[in-house]
């Protein structure tokens, strides 16, 4: 951890350079201390080794050799110090968060912490979501690419109602747990998205860009992080727990057979949890997120397992992360339906989110956490495949009140079948 403190000091110093990161600079509420020469971070070779080990452990792009070069160039002095500082800041931004020590022994495999079985599901013969949904005219995905885009989809009838029921079910649960709902924007400036640890440039970016150069949010965590950017909170206000319902846009594609249909799509709705906490609160808060998620899926009566994710699966911002995978009987596979992460102060540093510590009035970077309450498409797959019967789908008991009392999903004859014409000759 000492090592990261040094890196952070360096990062802070680079940020204070006038040419860097306008977003974090403009609205800062006088929270950063002026750089003192005595504070000059001196990254030793051993510390850089440790940093590199963390990068490699997380299978992250290794830019430590480049950092070594830049640190060395800084030491030597010269006239291009500002340019080097800028480059160094950019490289330091790319480094992943530290890793929770308990994950070091995981050998890149997730650890199954619990397995919840609520239903007896068939070993074979269960139908897959798209087959079930198409037979009941609940969904359409074919022949839409030229009109509404690649992998776009329509949910119809009771399946569309089920989407709204799941949102309401999750929101009521989160409200009971003290989360405050916030309506969030889906169009965001590039800087906010990058501050959350997502890259917006390059061939393999998952971020959609608009003609105005703004970006589409991949998850409401980004908008929520932007909401709290440059804020200075009091310790008694923490933890701040907020929830949001948002549309998520992801440019990623997948040709994998097991990810066909609505398993991996470009647009979907998600109910998200987000919290800002003190360093002491963040670990128990992650446990609370995890328990809320478990409770949500337990009540939905699906079979799922809880995984503690290894370093290579954490992405850049997370210090530790739990995933929940549901058993999808139609696909005969586990599918990730939820996750929650403790990002410690990784995002807070980039977004300049601080709190005033009660005992000594010191300004400390807060910790941020995020978790999925419900992400619609995959949860729909899990529910429809788990609750299938011959010609209908049972609605989980907890969702019945949000479905106007309906208990089963059946075929609606008012929904037209997909019968397409190629051409109608003009008069």
């Amino acid at each position: 951890m000492k090592l990261l403190t040094n890196v952070r000091k360096l990062l802070l110093r680079c940020r204070q350079s006038p040419t860097l990161r306008p977003m974090t600079r403009t609205k800062t509420t006088t929270t950063t201390q002026a750089h003192d020469a005595a504070d000059e971070p001196a990254l030793t070779s051993a510390q850089l080794d440790e940093l590199e080990q963390n990068v490699q452990l997380r299978q992250h792009k290794n830019n430590v050799p480049r950092i070594r070069q830049l640190v060395e160039a800084l030491r030597q002095g010269g006239q291009t110090q500002d340019v080097i500082r800028q480059q160094l800041a950019a490289e330091l931004q790319q480094l992943p968060n530290a890793t929770h020590p308990r994950l070091l022994a995981y050998d890149n495999q997730p650890l199954e912490l619990a397995n919840y079985k609520h239903r007896v599901l068939p070993q074979q013969g269960a139908k897959e979501f798209s087959e079930l949904a198409r037979a009941l005219s609940l969904y359409r995905m074919e022949h839409l690419g030229n009109y509404t885009g690649h992998k776009s989809y329509y949910l119809t009838g009771q399946l569309a109602m089920l989407e709204q029921a799941i949102i309401q079910y999750a929101l009521r649960s989160l409200t009971r747990h003290g989360f405050k709902l916030i309506s969030v924007p889906d169009i965001l400036p590039r800087e906010i998205i990058e501050s959350c640890g997502m890259r917006t440039e390059g061939e393999r970016t998952q971020v959609y860009k608009l003609d105005t150069d703004q970006c589409l949010s991949g998850t409401s965590e980004m908008a929520l992080a932007g909401f709290f950017a440059n804020r200075q909170l009091m310790e008694w206000e923490l933890p701040v727990k907020v929830a949001a319902v948002s549309r998520c846009y992801r440019a990623e594609t997948s040709g994998l057979h097991e990810e066909k249909g609505i398993y991996r799509v470009h647009q979907f709705t998600k109910v998200e949890m987000f919290a800002i906490a003190t360093p002491e609160q963040s670990e128990p808060m992650l446990e609370e997120f995890k328990n809320i998620e478990i409770d949500l899926f337990k009540q939905l009566g699906i079979n799922f397992r809880l995984l503690d994710m290894p370093p290579c699966e954490l992405g850049a911002p997370a210090y530790q992360k739990y995933d929940i995978e549901a058993w999808l009987p139609g696909r005969q596979m586990w599918g990730e339906i939820s996750s929650c992460s403790n990002c410690t102060d990784y995002q807070a540093k980039r977004l300049n989110v601080k709190y005033n510590r009660a005992r000594d009035a010191a300004l400390i970077h807060a910790h941020t956490l995020n978790g999925t309450a419900t992400a619609i498409p995959r949860l729909l797959i899990a529910l429809v495949e788990s609750y299938q019967s011959a010609d209908s789908i049972q609605i989980p008991e907890v969702l019945v009140p949000f479905m106007n009392g309906q208990r089963t999903i059946t075929k609606n004859k008012k929904i037209p079948e997909t019968k397409l014409v190629k051409f109608i000759r003009s008069a």
């Binding site: 030229n146 009109y147 885009g149 569309a160 709902l181 924007p185 003609d211 008012k414 929904i415 003009s426």
Partner: protein, 466 residues
């Protein structure tokens, strides 16, 4: 200002000479054809006076005389092409017959030579027809729909329903002053908190539920991107939506736009080329979703606020009917459901038929649902239901089969609720943001409510020790 914006958007629409909706053969190699609209020349030009009136009342800069001249040229060339192709077919048949019946070599050779000449003539004619076709058909696609008899004859909107009169307040509240409810950054970025955030979701869900339970609508969840071909089919000015930059765009003409699943155009994807049985008609759809119309809201500027925001939650409706009379009834039905909803809020609102110059070329009539915004001292649009006749259906080939021909369906629809603008107005009108009394609000059984209340109490108790 509004008029100027209308003219600008009309010019923008008319300026676009390349179309994803109609691609001539010479360009089909680079930009493949995704949809061939049904071009109803006869129907469009049948009543010239009606068409002329529609163009004039909408304030469109279209020279119908010039258009008809282009049509005549197009028709002449087209008929000539048809004649040549018929002749070629006849020769092909004759050749087959002669080959079978053992015709002389000289006869066969003569026919083959004639066939070659015809083939070259067809090719040459097609080449000369492309620019004529390009010029005429793109102009033809810019022609507007006819106007509905209910559309105001003058430049004054027609009031058809009003509830309560606007309050006379000297210094009205400004919704952005309620910092605990709204955090506004710019037109693309705002946050709503507490009751405003709950109302944002709950009101949208309640109204959609009301349409399902009381209006016999089928709920849908629609995609957020709509490609250019559908926006053109719906005659939507492209400037209304953000263009999405796609890394691997296959058809450069057919780009994607961020409309949101709560936009009318988003329904069109599932209706394109669809042929339905008459038994499903009238087809009634309602959807919850986002709407990201960046241009429409600017009418409520220049001061940026929730009234001018691009993003909003929306409830979107669409009804497809077989006849014009059914479409009229559907519009009334949708409006009645909307009236129930807004009446329950007991706020000053009205419904007006907007003037022809405010319509898009595809609309024949638009009813605008407007709520009074005290800070702006005017009504703001929180929904609008339009009658499109069969104008859009012909372009997207949405039909039903009757006997042996296709009937294009009449479309009615539009957003019945924009939550963001409604919330701003409710804050300013001092109305509580409570969705529980709205038509369609969740009626939870006592067990669910009791459980929630118990857990809420427990939470409040725990909060005491924080």
């Amino acid at each position: 200002m509004l008029k100027l914006r209308g003219v600008v958007s009309k010019c923008f629409f008319l300026r676009r000479h390349i179309s994803a909706l109609y691609i001539t053969g010479d360009k089909a190699n680079e930009n493949y054809v995704t949809l061939q609209p049904f071009l109803d020349f006869a129907g469009t030009f049948r009543d010239r006076a009606v068409l002329e009136q529609s163009i004039a009342r909408r304030g469109l800069a279209i020279d119908l005389e010039e258009m008809l001249t282009k049509y005549a040229t197009y028709q002449t060339h087209h008929e000539q092409l048809l004649r040549l192709e018929e002749e070629r077919d006849a020769i092909t048949k004759e050749l087959k017959l002669l080959t079978k019946s053992g015709g002389s070599a000289a006869q066969l050779e003569e026919l083959r030579a004639r066939g070659k000449v015809l083939r070259n003539e067809v090719k040459a004619l097609k080449q000369s027809l492309y620019p004529i076709e390009d010029d005429f058909i793109h102009d033809f696609l810019h022609l507007p729909n006819g106007l509905h008899s209910h559309c105001p004859q003058t430049n004054v909107e027609k009031l058809i329903y009003r509830h309560k009169t606007p309050p006379a307040v000297e210094q009205p509240r400004w919704h952005l002053d309620r910092k605990e409810l709204v955090h506004f950054v710019d037109n693309n970025r705002y946050y709503m908190m507490e009751k405003a955030a709950h109302f944002d979701v709950d009101a949208m869900q309640a109204l959609a539920r009301y349409f399902v339970t009381h209006g016999d609508f089928v709920q849908t969840s629609n995609p957020d991107f709509v490609r250019c071909v559908l926006l053109e089919a719906n005659a939507t000015p492209l400037s209304q939506y953000h263009l999405v930059r796609e890394e691997h765009l296959l058809n450069k003409l057919n780009t994607a736009y961020l409309t949101g699943g709560g936009a009318f155009e988003s329904f069109l994807g599932t209706l394109t080329k669809l042929c339905v049985y008459p038994s499903v008609l009238p087809l009634r759809y309602v959807a919850c979703g986002r709407s990201y119309n960046r241009e429409e809201a600017l009418a409520y500027g220049p001061t940026p606020s929730l009234y001018t925001a691009t993003q909003t939650n929306a409830v979107q409706s669409l009804v497809a009917t077989q006849t014009e009379a059914d479409a009229d009834a559907a519009l009334e039905h949708v409006l009645n459901l909307a009236i129930d909803f807004y009446k329950s809020l007991d706020i000053p609102f009205r419904i007006v038929y907007v003037t022809a110059e405010r319509l898009t070329p595809a609309e024949s009539l638009r009813a605008s649902i407007e709520v009074y915004a005290p800070s702006l001292k005017r009504y703001v649009c929180v929904g609008r239901i339009s009658n499109y006749g069969d104008f859009v259906s012909k372009r997207i080939l949405f039909s039903t089969r009757r006997d042996k021909h296709y009937d294009f369906l009449h479309l009615v629809g539009g957003p019945v609720l924009y939550t963001t603008r409604l919330i701003a107005a409710l804050i300013e009108l001092g109305v509580k943001l409570e969705a529980s009394k709205l038509p369609g609000a969740l009626q939870l059984g006592p067990s669910v409510q009791a459980m929630s209340q118990h857990q809420r109490d427990l939470q409040e108790f725990k909060d005491l020790f924080k």
